[in-house]
Amino acid sequence: MKDLAIETKDLTKDYGNGRGIFDLGLSIAEGEVFGFLGPNGAGKTTTIRLLMGLIHATRGSARIFGLDCDHDAVAVKRKVGYCPGELPQFGGWRGSEVVAYVAGLRGDVKDAAITTLAERLDLDLGRKYREYSHGNKQKLALILAFMHQPELVILDEPTTGLDPLVQQEFYGIVRDARTRGATIFISSHVLSEVEHVCDRVGIVREGHLATVSPLEDLVGMRAFRVEIDFADDVPVDRLKRVEGLDQLVVTDHRATGLLRGTFEPLMAAVAGTRVVGFTSREPSLEEIFLTYYR
């Protein structure tokens, strides 16, 4: 069995009024890519800040590679790269100065690694930080997280603000890190985001860990919120018989529902009717929770 990269036991940070994270027990093996999913305010960032030793637990413990995240914080951070969810402000510093300064703090960074990352993410390090767009600031944060080739990378909603092409490059960087043996911990509030790279996924809701599952189990949870506009009356009876279609609501000429599985039964049910509008979107995690964890 592989050693554990991250291990938490009864980890709790209680901010009062039910806010925070409670009794979190996680075990993440070395070399694993772990997705930490949850709606906004579920406690993802709090968990990450506890792992980084930036805040102190109310009770419980968190260990990284066997080191206590609070008491051995300096030793832990030699092994960890971190991309925060809320980006820091460096004002008039140039990107090149920010990375050089943080590289100086770490002391184990090769300039070539920085250059490679900047090229892959297409980031001009010559600009002043305040002139960067949100996406470019996010790219810089990713460079700071990966530049020293850490054994563990902790990423808090890392693709926020990145365009689709750069997102693909980011997934490539994660895969490369995994190939060299690094462990990756990614938080997100979008299921499809972690599907690209994760082996296992933990879902947290209202401060409590709801489940930890292999990715393939979660893929079975995939569902789509569908909205169909008909020119004539809605074929209600046919829709009610569609396999995997739940939460059906019919108003005037519109039908909405949550579809699991394939689209084929639904398409067969509406065949022969005059469909004037058809939209489908990925449901929010909250909707998945309402479906699966009521």
């Binding site: 930036l54 102190h56 809320e86 510093w93 090149s96 100065e97 050089a100 703090l105």
Partner: protein, 538 residues
């Protein structure tokens, strides 16, 4: 809503400033009776000597008029200084309204919420004016209540308050326009403060020399044209009119410019964003070294302080002979004894007093500004970035202090060289060893201030600047008023400035120096504990 938020942003600062100026007003009022005496003869003698002294200090303060009265004394000693403090306050506040909120993304939020640009800025100006009225009102009330039978007309005091308000708004207008021409709050505040000091010096020079129409550019001159407190004096229509007119025009320019320029950009044409177009990290080795890295990022700021402080030191020392000759010619025994006790009767002692008292004040201001940036490190996520690297809390605390002390060391060293050379040029021989020692001991002041500030910043970051400013103001008042009121030594030693002493005027107060080092050491240790215990970013 806009008004409520603007007021909320300033609540702590307003209360602190109102308290400071109210206490200052009371202490100056009470001090008048202490130093001027109570009989007509004592006051006439006092007025004669202070008029002589005032003539020598005319580069700093207005020429005194009817100084045998409380009204004349306050107009000269208190309001002559206060107008500069209010000018600096206006610079800080206008740079915050005109640029600081924009840096923090608040302006974008307001504009996105449907608030018009003009309405946003006019609201901020109106709130500042309201706050200034409250602060000035609190001070006027405190003076009236402490006047204790001295003749002082409420209407005259009100007129002086109006004059001060008009000057403050004019300064606010100048700083608001400057904020439209640069891209950062720090640059806006720094340029405005520098400009005000220059305008203050132009006015000072104009009191004894012909500077032509340039003096009319100084709001401090326009302020000084009105003498509503002294008997027979009144508001000068030309001065007040110019202040109000300039204020309105400048504020309008500021609002219109803000409405027309890009958010995040400047109103100056042709200032395009420049990029060096690189994928590589900076090769500057300083950036990767402890202490020198942060110092390198502050190099322009430190250099500006160094040049400014050297210039100020040199100008202060250049007038030493004139002032000392005036002081030692005093025919009033009390004043002569006071000057001798204060170390102002011998050239080299005077150099020490005037240079070191200015240095301790300014270097504590430098420390407060540094503490403000440490608090911002926490709020703006930089501290979390630093602690995400293998960096201990201890290193953060010690590196900040070391950076502060290295910067202050450079400024103090350059200043001491300037003092030594200018004094030599004046024919005043200074003990080089004593100058070097006094400059070295100057480090104890920012060490104590920085450590106290670091402790507050580690515990309650948002309170750090206010708390440290309160320590500075308290220390200043205690140092100024203990000799006048004859308070005991233990009260005097509550002031960090008193603990530093006057190392060029007599024996060095090693106990005081040890006290400063002790305060700094204890506060540093407490900072370590506080930073370790606190949640970063909370």
């Amino acid at each position: 809503m806009l008004i409520r938020i603007a007021l909320k942003q300033q609540t702590v600062g307003v209360i602190a400033l109102a308290l400071v100026v109210a206490i200052g007003g009371v202490l100056n009022t009470l001090a008048f009776v202490q130093i001027a005496g109570t009989t007509p003869a004592e006051r006439a003698a006092f007025a004669q000597q202070m008029t002589l002294l005032g003539a020598q200090l005319s580069y700093m303060l207005p020429v005194p008029v009817r100084i045998d009265t409380l009204a004349g004394y306050l107009e000269w000693r208190w309001f002559g200084t206060l107008v500069v403090i209010f000018g600096i306050w206006a610079a800080i506040s206008a740079s915050g309204s005109g640029r600081g909120d924009e840096e923090r993304g608040l302006v974008e939020q307001w504009l996105a919420a449907g608030v018009g640009r003009a309405r946003y800025l006019i609201t901020r100006v109106a709130v500042f004016a309201a706050v200034a009225i409250i602060v000035i009102g609190a001070m006027q009330l405190s003076i009236l209540l402490s006047a204790d039978g001295e003749p002082l007309a409420g209407g005259d005091l009100f007129a002086m308050g109006f004059n001060l308000l008009a000057t403050t708004l004019c300064c606010y207008g100048i700083a608001l326009v400057i904020a439209q021409l640069v891209t950062t709050r720090r640059a806006a505040g720094g340029i405005a403060a520098g400009l005000f000091i220059a305008l203050f010096l132009i006015n000072g020079a104009g009191r004894t020399a012909d500077v032509g129409a340039a003096r009319w550019l100084s709001p401090f001159y326009l302020f000084e044209r009105s003498r509503p407190l002294t008997e027979g004096g009144a508001l000068d229509p030309l001065g007040i009119g110019a202040l109000l007119g300039a204020g309105v025009v400048l504020l309008a320019i500021g609002v219109v410019t803000f409405a027309r320029r890009d958010l995040g950009g400047t109103a100056l044409p042709g200032t395009s964003r420049e990029s060096r177009g690189t994928r590589s990290p900076s090769r500057d080795p300083l950036l990767r070294l402890p202490v020198l890295g942060p110092l390198r990022q502050q190099r322009i700021w430190v250099a500006a302080w160094l040049v400014g402080f050297v210039a100020l030191s040199a100008s202060l020392i250049s007038i030493t002979r004139t002032i000392v000759d005036s002081l030692t010619s005093s025919e009033v025994p009390f004043l002569r004894a006071y000057f001798e006790r204060a170390g102002l009767s011998v050239y080299d002692s005077f150099v020490g007093v005037i240079w070191l008292s200015t240095a301790t004040l300014l270097l504590s201001v430098y420390a407060i500004i540094q503490v403000a940036s440490w608090s911002a490190d926490d709020a703006e996520g930089r501290l979390a970035t630093i602690l995400s690297a293998p960096v201990s809390h201890t290193r953060v605390i010690l590196e900040r202090l070391a950076t502060l002390l290295v910067a202050v060391g450079l400024i103090a060293a350059a200043s001491s060289v300037a003092v030594y050379m200018v004094a030599a040029g004046q024919g005043i021989t200074l003990d080089g060893g004593r100058v070097a020692l006094a400059a070295t001991l100057l480090l104890t002041i920012p060490f104590a201030f920085g450590s106290i500030g670091q402790f507050v910043a580690a515990s309650r970051p948002r309170m750090a600047v206010v708390a440290l400013s309160a320590v500075a103001v308290f220390s200043y008042f205690v140092q100024q008023f203990v000799p006048l009121f004859g308070w005991p030594d233990w009260v005097a030693n509550l002031s960090l400035y008193t603990l530093y002493g006057a190392p060029m005027s007599g024996d060095i107060k090693w106990a005081g120096v040890a006290g400063l080092v002790g305060i700094g050491s204890v506060a540093t240790a407490a900072s370590l504990v506080a930073l370790r215990r606190r949640d970063v970013g909370a």
